[in-house]
Amino acid sequence: MSTILQCENLSKRYGARTALDNISLKLDSGRIIGLLGPNGSGKSTLIKLINDLLSPTAGTLLIDGHAPGLETKKIVSYLPERTYLDENLKVSSYISYFADFYGDFDTSRALDMLQRLDIDPDLRIKTLSKGTQEKVQLILVMSRRARLYCLDEPIAGVDPAARDYILSTIINNYDENATILISTHLISDVENILDEVVFIQNGHIRLQAQVDDIRCNQGNSIDGLFREVFKC
């Protein structure tokens, strides 16, 4: 099993505030990994560092052996917390946009998923509901055959039906050689699809473990363990 992501002594400070404090982390290929922590624990900061939207204050971060940049952007597919779609464009414009810029984008897969949701590609983004916009964005991100997917809070604030759709889209598009990093604070909703979890708190890694090890050794669900570790 190869390493897809490796951080060593990685820190990120915003002025006086420390978002990530000297973390070291190694993630393998072919896993679905939960990045779990309360709000403001540093989850989004780590994901933004992976996507080259932030520069580390100290330490190193390597994705498939490369520092974040041109090469890593070709193999990392990123779903941010917010929707980034331009309201004035059509869904089909985004399909061709992704196909043009990302060599690993699978157009037929994207069109197929849109069709299953009954979304007409000729519609403009602004005519879609907020929930549908989020689904379109997820479809775009998951239609890439990337090596690493970073999904930042993909199920926050959606209804149970949409949540089921999102999780099954993630599972159905998951390729055995890829790694999916899902950041969330809604653990019970995702824990059944995870192979591995990373607990993060105040910019520190509290725990990295295989979910089945937690269940076998502690007889606890991930949600239960999370509540114990982060007890107020």
Binding site: N51, D52, L53, L54, S55, L70, K73, K74, V76, Y78, P80, R82, T83, Y84, L85, D86, N88, L89, Y97, D100, F101, Y102
Partner: protein, 273 residues
Amino acid sequence: MLKKIFKYEWKTICPLLLAVHGVGLVIAVICRIGIRLMDGLDGNDNSLMAILLMMAAVMAIGCIVAYTYFYTGYRFYKSVFTQQGYLTNTLPVTADQLIWGKGFTAVIWVSLNFLWAVIALIILIASPSDVSEILHELPKAIASLFSRDTPAFVWLAVLSTLLTPFSMTIQIYASAAIGNLFMGHKLLATIGSFFGISFIQQILGLVILAICGPHLTRITYQAQEIEGNISYYTPVLNTMNLMMILTLAFSVICAVGFYFLCRYVLDHKLNLE
């Protein structure tokens, strides 16, 4: 990738700008007709109403010219530094490709904007005889540019006119990059940065001219004395050449500085909401 950035940016900015400029031409035509109906301009009965109408039309044209600058900058700001930046900045492209790809669309529009304003003004005020005169004189003017006795500063002026869209665009982009560094009200900060930069540039330009001006005059007079051919005309011309070179060099240096500032912010100082 540069071509793709350009292609999508072009497709995105064109519809609105084409519409705005189209409407601007229609306004010019309508105002011209209105003025003519009031017997203004060619009828030589320039009533207050006709003059007001013309002023309104000129202002509309001015607004569209200003809006084009604003819009090209706004597009850059919006696609790179707002939520859309989450996609733009994770595309497999370099900061250079982003700036050049998007910048070219802006440069083209800023140039078109200038030509458009000339045409709109011609529609608004020029008489048919003016138009034929312009068409007659234009080739001559261009031809005389290439004649041997054209002073260098004319060429320098042409060069600086051609470079203006580039320096304008990169100044707008640099303002957006600075605006992005603020915690809130980034668009306001962008606009503020633009005027701030312009102001500082003006002051610096004046200071440089004030410092170098006397030297330039001395240099040209000295050169004159060596050649021994004393006339009042040539030294003035030489001084103007040198000043023009100085101004040009200053704006080129500024533009290069803005470019690196933009690149630095895109690479290391993104501050997306």
